[in-house]
Symmetry: C2
């Protein structure tokens, strides 16, 4: 990624911490290695400021004390923002990780993580996948997206890339969680894909800007994928595939663990078959995935209180799109919403998918309309 | 099948009932529709003779009273023999069906059902299967046979036929359980296959000679397949495939229910995937099947008492082959056993597979030897 990209239009979530507090979290992100529970406990017991002070005192001589404010400013220059614990934008699902939760998340892209995480599924699998697996991942992902579910994945080669592409093909958002800084381009060949994910959804990382990927970081990254989503689907995996590690995290976190079958003769399905034997739910299509992870958004819109909670979580842009929707049962086309909202077509579509994932709107072919179940919200 | 086939060399199992009693069971087989529990209870309470008397009294005027002795004589002419309850050859596994168990079984082929059933697996599936399913069934079956397990199936088109063929290809026995009389050729195109099954293993049916197949009979036939075997593997099946009925019987009888996965996109694997979702064990190869059904034969040969029980179950021919095996660790070739036993090579091979399924012998490439764990038996 480079600085020539448009900057995000500002933090989409209101309710940021004070600048000084944000700088502390940014600095902590620089000194804490992902998943370090002891440091996590220290932060929980002493608070971030004292934890940071202790950690920096313990730094070996000659190691630079991190400057959180400078980190945040540097991020802003390249379109990366920090989401801190305690802020409105913080996805509280991560708190299920206890002291192992990330100290903060770097994000590229203007979509709201909290909104996208409400109805989200991780779609992961082998880097060295088959054509069958690739098609399966792309189709599953496209179909989940059309049903208003957001696909989260690891932006790696193979199944991950196919999953992100499937979501993008139908115009939906998708979230890539990286094992390196959000400013890094890894793997190199996914440069275009990474840019498109940031444009239409989000790139996320708990690692500081500039951080390089390595195996332990990939494994810790997997816990974030599992924690942010309601369930993990492994599409294709050999017996020792790293994607099985994401499934293990999902199981530990009491998320749904799902796996797709493949030919009994395919070594690249041996891992998913093993998962199924150990209790993962066999899923063959998006309908079966949705059956497992449940209709959270729809459940929320069913009550007035739920609808209010949803509205509170909406970014101003999203609210504008919601309010541009006509009250008619026929709804409106993207073009008509562009005219009413004075937002660009890309932005309108992205926000519509957010609203879809929340169950606030429905798609009827090229038209979008308010979900009849929650007309009271607009 | 026709009368030009060689007659079986006589009942391979000693311990037949008296002729009159056998005639009663044969006659019952003619008047009882498979799986009729009320009649089964009547037989259990009153004994076969009184049950037959009552049933024939209840026959509509003009319906011929069956002549069991004539049935048995007619069977002998075409190489079919009757296995009655209470005889040494009766597979006691069927008693798990309670009053729904068959009254008697007709068999074509000289192999011992009791021996073959000790380590047996049902391999079943769709008639209209894919090439993938066909290869899978044949490979699984060949591999199970080589490990000393006998494959039972329904001798239908598709997966069933592939399963039988896989066993025959590696020279093993296999058991076909029919939904019609054992003298019927159904389906017509399987004529060659049916003949080879009878030559190298067994064709079985609880239906009387001349009985035609129909849907209820196929469904009842499935309970016999499930009951005779230690577990059922469904290789490929659409959502409403009849083979799922065999799996249901297996589950009801506390047998292992296993299913093979296939592409998530294949409607012909939708049935096996559904089975797996409902608790069937996903198996990808013969090793995984054996893991589920356990090493019964090997367990038996581990004790002196078990070895005696096994020897008692052996047909004289089988015993002759067992006694022809040299005591050396190298064992002997089929040719050398033909010379020692004065039996034909086909017979020797068939009996060796019986002994293999009992765990009494081992195969070392082209050589066969006594299982070192049970040298005391010969």
């Amino acid at each position: 990624m480079n600085a020539s990209e448009p900057e995000p239009s500002g933090a989409p979530d209101a309710g940021l911490l004070a600048e000084g507090e944000r700088a502390v979290w940014a600095a902590l992100g620089r000194v804490v290695e992902p998943g370090d529970e002891r440091v996590g406990e220290l932060i929980d017991e002493r608070g971030p400021e004292e934890a940071l002070a202790r950690l920096t005192r313990a730094l070996p001589a000659g190691v630079e004390v991190p400057d959180g404010a400078r980190e945040i400013a540097r991020g802003a220059l390249i379109g990366a923002r920090l989401i801190c614990r305690g802020e409105v934008g913080w996805p509280t699902q991560l708190d299920d990780l206890g002291p192992a939760r990330p100290v903060a998340l770097w994000a590229r892209g203007s979509a709201s993580l909290r909104v996208l995480a409400v109805r989200s599924v991780a779609v992961v699998g082998a880097r060295a996948c088959t054509g069958y697996g690739q098609r399966l991942a792309a189709d599953l992902s496209a179909s989940l997206t059309e049903r208003g579910w957001t696909v989260f994945s690891g932006a790696a080669y193979g199944i991950d890339a196919a999953a992100h592409r499937g979501a993008l093909v139908v115009g939906g958002p998708t979230v890539g969680i990286l094992g390196c800084g959000v400013d890094q381009v890894y793997p190199r060949a996914n440069e275009q894909l990474l840019r498109r994910i940031a444009e239409h959804g989000l790139l996320l990382s708990e690692l500081p800007l500039g951080a390089h990927p390595n195996r332990p970081r990939f494994l810790q990254r997997n816990r974030v994928i599992a924690a942010l989503t309601r369930g993990t689907v492994v599409v294709e995996a050999a017996r020792r595939s790293g994607s099985l590690n994401t499934a293990r995290w999902a199981a530990d976190l009491c998320r749904q663990v799902m796996a797709m079958p493949g030919p009994a003769t395919s070594s690249l399905s041996a891992g998913t078959h093993e998962l199924i034997r150990r209790g993962a739910v066999l899923v063959a299509d998006a309908g079966e995935v949705v059956e497992q992870v449940g209709e959270i958004g729809t459940d929320l819109v069913a009550t007035a209180e739920g609808r209010e909670r949803l509205r509170d979580a909406l970014a101003p842009e999203t609210l504008r799109v919601l309010e541009s929707l006509p009250a008619s049962a026929r709804g409106g086309s993207v073009e008509s919403l562009v005219q009413r909202s004075l937002l660009g077509p890309d932005v309108v579509l992205r926000r519509l998918y957010e609203l879809l994932s929340l169950g606030l709107v429905e798609r009827l072919g090229a038209h979008w309309r308010l979900n009849p179940a929650c007309k009271g919200t607009s």
